[in-house]
């Protein structure tokens, strides 16, 4: 039995290690390749290192325009998705609301619809509406696909909120809206921040919806990358990926310092 226990433990540890390597190695390879000094895609590892692909990224107007558009889009879409998601979560957390489960499923449905379908539907829909401004269309698409994530995060953080908290505030002189602001919003703080961060990251590297909704002059960074890869494949992609990775790590670090990453992960896990 004892030998079997040890064997089982080693097997589990081996599997965890394999999973971590499987997740991390490709990222590490892309990272190292981004510093490759060669002008072509050569065998790994690179014989010499330089910052040429980072320079290429900064010098390429298509990338830089894409970067600014993606940044603005992510900020606007994340802000909208967070505001709508928070309001919806507060409404859904009210036990007096009938059909809350059905409404929640409806709000979460964009998560299960393929993004290609969301993008195509919005393209047709906005065209019918006569709405052709690509940035507006992108904001709509990104808000829709990030909304389930902000809603889930806020709902999860509201689990500890009791109806009696709101009623206590009302009995002390707060209107219902005031009670929500004073009691429910602080309780949901970690979920709001986590949801906003997730929405920002998701919007920033979203491809499929953007592919349908952007035009030649308004391209997000991921779209610019895909276009560039098709036209002339080089290691600028690796450099941009590394920048992405660094920015995401930085965001996580800030969140960890302000809220605690376990709490964020726990809040999200509590609702699955």
């Amino acid at each position: 039995m004892r030998a079997l226990d040890i064997a089982a433990r080693l097997l589990v540890r081996g599997l965890v290690l394999a999973a971590v390597l499987f997740l991390m190695l490709p990222l590490l390879v892309a990272c190292i390749l981004s510093f490759d000094a060669r002008s072509f895609l050569g065998p790994f590892p690179p014989p010499a290192y330089s910052l040429r692909w980072y320079r290429a990224f900064l010098d390429n107007p298509a990338y830089m325009d894409g970067f600014w558009i993606s940044l603005q889009l992510a900020v606007v879409a994340a802000a909208l998705a967070t505001a709508i998601g928070t309001a919806a979560a507060l409404a859904l957390a009210d036990p007096r609301l009938r059909g809350a489960r059905a409404l929640e499923a409806l709000f979460l449905s964009p998560k299960f619809v393929p993004t290609v379908v969301v993008g195509f539907s919005l393209l047709v829909f906005t065209a019918r509406l006569g709405l052709f401004d690509p940035f507006t269309r992108l904001v709509m698409g990104h808000t829709i696909i990030t909304l389930p994530f902000t809603l889930r995060a806020v709902l999860a953080s509201l689990v500890g909120l009791r109806r009696s908290h709101l009623e206590a505030a009302m009995s002390l002189g707060a209107t219902e809206a005031r009670a929500l602001w004073d009691v429910a919003v602080p309780a949901a703080r970690s979920g709001i921040v986590a949801g906003a961060a997730m929405a920002f990251v998701l919007s920033f590297d979203e491809v499929a919806v953007s592919l349908f909704l952007s035009d030649a002059f308004t391209q997000t960074l991921p779209i610019a990358l895909v276009a560039e890869m098709r036209a002339n494949l080089n290691l600028t992609v690796a450099a941009v990926s590394t920048v992405f990775l660094g920015a995401t790590l930085l965001l996580l670090l800030v969140l960890d310092r302000t809220l605690g990453i376990e709490r964020l992960a726990g809040d999200v896990a509590a609702r699955g």
Binding site: H165, A168, A169, M170, R178, P186
Partner: protein, 347 residues
């Protein structure tokens, strides 16, 4: 302030939660709403606070119609069963919340918070968070928060039910002192009769959405208006039968003396265990045949389980040298005025 609740009726789906419930509480009076779970006492409290609506009936506080006011405009202090302290605020911010909503300046707020924490003896804990407090301390913060706004009416929802037995005793005395000192009209909702007896000036016994009796603890215990009240409060022996002339004849045919009934309709005979004794009948005493089922040694007394005309009865009797064996037929004696004819139900 005087609280008057009249004919409150509320339906949830098909179920009648409140069936024309009426009660009142005078200035500085403490009234307990006592009843089993599901009797409508919590619904009554929530309608008074404004969190539920009534289908019909009226609530007046100092002559003002409360139903017209939103919950936040009612000036009612409410202590929730789970205390409902705001977890992200300090004790001082919790207690001062109602004052902040009333736009009081910080200095006045701090003074009032200090005064309230002094009242509930929590001075020095201003900066703590609710999670850092014991259950008893949380309860007192909740009370201080409700009282800080100088409410016109104080509502307490099962105030001591979340505390362990020993703490409950101490806090009960403390709560009674505070209620006496502040003199706010208070309504306590509870299912615990000991709590009601210890805290209330008058007790309203509720069952199935109706207030069956509202009177002083003594009157409710000694002169119950119906069978439910008689059996709900304290221990009792209830014998079924009928009044014939001035005597009560039980199902088994025993004729027993009893007080005159208050109301027409079917009656039973109520006897409190403390009025019954296991001995030969003295001068003018009435007797009742019984069978001993079991004897249990209870330290200060002997617990004697009996069967009286089919009804179970438990008596706590002082120790004696010898006890009849279980199974023995015995005679219970009681003073004739101890027997009360009580209505089966209120019409």
């Amino acid at each position: 302030m005087t609280l008057t609740v009249q004919n409150l009726t509320r339906r949830f789906g098909g179920a009648l939660a409140l069936d024309a419930a009426s009660l009142d509480a005078g200035p500085s009076e403490v009234v307990a709403l006592l009843g089993p779970s599901g009797c409508g006492k919590t619904t009554t409290l929530r309608i008074i606070a404004g969190f539920e609506t009534a289908d019909s009936g009226s609530i007046q506080l100092a002559g003002q119609d409360l139903m017209r006011l939103a919950p936040h405009a009612r000036d009612i202090g409410l202590v929730f069963q789970d205390y409902a302290l705001f977890p992200h605020m300090t004790v001082a911010d919790n207690v001062g919340y109602g004052l902040r909503r009333r736009g009081q300046p910080a200095a006045a707020r701090a003074a009032r918070v200090g005064e309230m924490l002094d009242l509930v003896r929590l001075t020095g804990l201003e900066k703590r968070r609710p999670a850092q407090l014991s259950g008893g301390q949380q309860q007192r913060v909740a009370l201080a928060r409700a009282l800080a706004i100088a409410p016109r009416l104080l509502l307490l929802d099962e105030p001591l039910s979340n505390l362990d037995a020993r703490l409950r005793g101490t806090l009960q005395t403390e709560l009674r002192d505070i209620l006496t000192r502040i003199g706010t009209t208070t309504l306590i909702v509870t299912h615990d009769q000991e709590e009601a007896l210890a805290l209330a000036d008058r007790i309203a016994i509720m069952s199935q959405g109706r207030v069956l009796q509202l009177d002083t603890p003594r009157m409710v215990y000694e002169r119950p208006t119906c069978r439910f009240v008689a059996e709900f409060l304290g221990r009792s022996l209830w014998l079924e039968g009928a009044l014939q002339g001035g005597v009560f004849v039980t199902r088994a045919g025993t004729a027993l003396p009893c007080s005159a009934p208050h109301a027409p309709g079917p009656h039973g005979l109520l006897l409190r265990p403390e009025a019954l004794s296991l001995r030969e009948a003295g001068d003018g005493e009435a007797t009742l045949p019984a069978t001993i089922l079991a004897l249990r040694y209870h330290g200060h007394a002997m617990q004697v389980e009996l069967r009286v005309e089919g009804a179970p009865l438990t008596l706590e009797l002082p120790h004696r040298e010898t006890w009849p064996e279980p199974g023995t037929a015995v005679t219970l004696a009681f003073r004739p005025e101890a027997g009360q004819a009580v209505a089966e139900a209120i019409a």
